[in-house]
């Protein structure tokens, strides 16, 4: 699992700390372009920490630090000249709890990233908003009241709105931290369908607690335990013929 120029992103010997507490231990992992990679593992094993290291969100928590490298197209996103804002534009993120901006309309939420980064072209913004809402299958549901507050939508709609918002800044990689855990099965099915369609254009990395979900949406699966990467491979291999006994016990539901 060493860095290769075929991967979209690589974690290389990544360690991460919250204060004195180490949350990631020497994690090395290659993320394949235009595929969905699922991160699974019991609560507290470091899945969120890992993906937050992939777009430099980890450093927004006070007193955190990392060692090791994270490569995006072979460039270390933590190198001296690298700008965290640029990294985050290229590596977007969708959070566990939908977090639309409550004071903004649906349209403004979608293009918030563009507007807050200085795009003023009204025509372009309207166009992007529509395209992105269509892309997340939300357009039909909201097209008649785009002026409504983003926070007035249902949970599932809000999450799709947040995905649209993340896509609007044209990222290359999308990180999703348990994007369905606050949603009902129907909303979950919609998001899963959406994820499957996203990989045509983006590289998707998704954290999930739901093994069936990982099996349904992911091409690759990584199993983590206590801050270490235990096993990584094609999803079918990880679930059907795991190499590590720990993985086997986890995917068969013996613990976690």
């Amino acid at each position: 699992m060493s860095a290769s120029n075929e991967a979209k992103m690589n974690a290389v010997s990544l360690n991460a700390w919250y204060g004195a507490k180490q949350a990631l231990f020497n994690v090395s992992l290659d993320f394949v372009p235009n595929k969905v990679t699922a991160m699974i593992g019991p609560s507290g094993c470091g899945k969120s920490t890992l993906i937050r290291c992939l777009n430099r969100m980890h450093e927004l928590v006070p007193n955190t630090r990392i060692t090791g490298k994270v490569l995006l197209d072979d460039q270390d996103i933590y190198s001296q000249g690298s700008d965290p804002a640029d990294v985050r534009r290229r590596v977007g993120m969708v959070f566990q709890k939908p977090n639309p901006f409550p004071t903004m309309s649906i349209t403004d939420n979608v293009v918030a990233g563009l507007k807050l980064s200085g795009v003023r072209d009204k025509k372009r913004l309207t166009e992007v908003a529509r395209n992105m809402l269509e892309r997340v299958y939300l357009w039909e549901e909201v097209k008649d009241d785009l002026k409504r507050s983003g926070a007035s939508l249902s949970g599932g709609q809000q999450q799709r709105l947040c995905i649209a918002r993340a896509l609007a800044v044209e990222p290359e990689v999308i990180l999703m931290d348990e994007p369905c855990s606050a949603l009902d099965p129907i909303a979950t099915a919609k998001i899963e369908e959406l994820i499957a369609s996203l990989k045509e254009i983006y590289t998707v990395i998704i954290v999930t607690h739901n093994m069936q979900q990982a099996a349904r949406v992911a091409d690759y699966t990584a199993f983590m335990y206590l801050g270490e990467l235990v096993e990584y491979g094609e999803t079918s291999q990880v679930f059907e013929s795991p190499k590590q006994p720990l993985t086997e016990r986890y995917v068969t539901g013996k613990f976690g």
């Binding site: 777009n55 969100m57 927004l60 006070p62 804002a85 640029d86 990294v87 985050r88 534009r89 290229r90 977007g92 993120m93 959070f95 709890k97 977090n99 639309p100 901006f101 409550p102 004071t103 918030a112 990233g113 807050l116 980064s117 507050s149 926070a151 007035s152 947040c162 918002r165 993340a166 800044v169």
Partner: protein
């Protein structure tokens, strides 16, 4: 068991009710008393005329007004806000958005301490620093003293207002590649009504200050005559005229108190309306 619990309930309820009454009675009394005593001297002239000579046998009660004091208080509060609001808001933003470190904690501690310093001490400081140096009471000294009193109030309320904005919004914005300063502006816009509330409360607070004004802006019986000169203020006349024993001056003192009270209550009313609006977008 059940009976005792019911008794405890009853006792607590009566105690809290009594406490509320004790708290409200003086408030209502103040409003009532000041209104009754002050309303008679309120007229157009109160706002446009200079203070009269004391009542005497020749001239039993020249009415006059406190126009210069109204003007002076407006100027002092306005200039003080021009100092206190921007400095206070920016320092609150620093504490909340950039100060999650030793500096931030130090400034936070400083703010908490400053709020508790008696205003007369702040007045004394600027009396020593400015009034003694330039050998004159001045609008500048008064504005700086009052502005300084506003800063910690505005800063603390701003920081609290920003802290109340969920962190998920900061994360949402940062994750879109939005720059830190722009994310901070977004967070400020989410907290703007609470921040405005804090500023208004600080204005209401300094409008009624007396000691620091007397120590820095001094007093004057004439209209505003320059930033380097002393200036009149409502609280000066209330303080001075109320005990003068001269009927027309005493009346003006009550009228001045009424005007100040109405302004401060008006500000609080505006605050209520502003904060009510805050909850509508949910």
């Amino acid at each position: 068991m059940k009976a005792t619990r019911r008794i405890v309930d009853k006792v607590l309820l009566s105690l809290t009710t009594v406490a509320v009454i004790i708290a409200i009675v003086p408030l209502v009394a103040i409003i009532f008393y000041v209104t009754v005593k002050g309303i008679s001297a309120i007229s157009i002239g109160f706002f446009t005329e200079l203070p009269p000579l004391p009542a005497s046998k020749l001239q039993p009660s020249p009415p006059g007004g406190l126009g210069n004091a109204v003007q002076g208080t407006l100027i002092l509060v306005g200039l003080a806000s021009a100092i206190g609001v921007p400095v206070g808001v920016l320092s609150g933003v620093y504490i909340s958005e950039y100060g999650r470190n030793a500096y931030g904690n130090a400034i936070r501690f400083l703010g908490d301490t400053l709020v508790g310093i008696p205003s007369v001490v702040t007045g004394l400081l600027f009396f020593g620093l400015i009034v003694l140096t330039f050998r004159s009471y001045s609008v500048i000294a008064g504005s700086i003293a009052l502005g300084t009193l506003m800063i910690p109030i505005v800063s603390n309320t701003t920081a609290a207002a920003l802290q109340a904005v969920p962190n998920s919004l900061r994360e949402a914005s940062s994750a879109l590649g939005v720059r830190k300063w722009r994310t901070s502006l977004l967070i400020i816009s989410h907290a703007q009504s609470s921040i405005a509330t804090g500023c208004l409360l600080a204005v209401a607070r300094i409008a009624g200050e007396t000691a620091p004004v007397l120590l820095t802006a001094g007093a004057s019986n004439y209209w505003y005559s320059g930033l380097g000169a002393p200036i009149a203020s409502l609280t000066y006349y209330i303080y001075n005229y109320a005990v003068s024993g001269t009927s027309n001056w005493v009346n003006l003192a009550w009228a001045g108190a009424l005007v100040l009270m109405v302004v401060v209550m008006g500000i609080n009313l505006v605050v209520r309306l502003v904060t009510r609006k805050k909850y509508t977008y949910g």
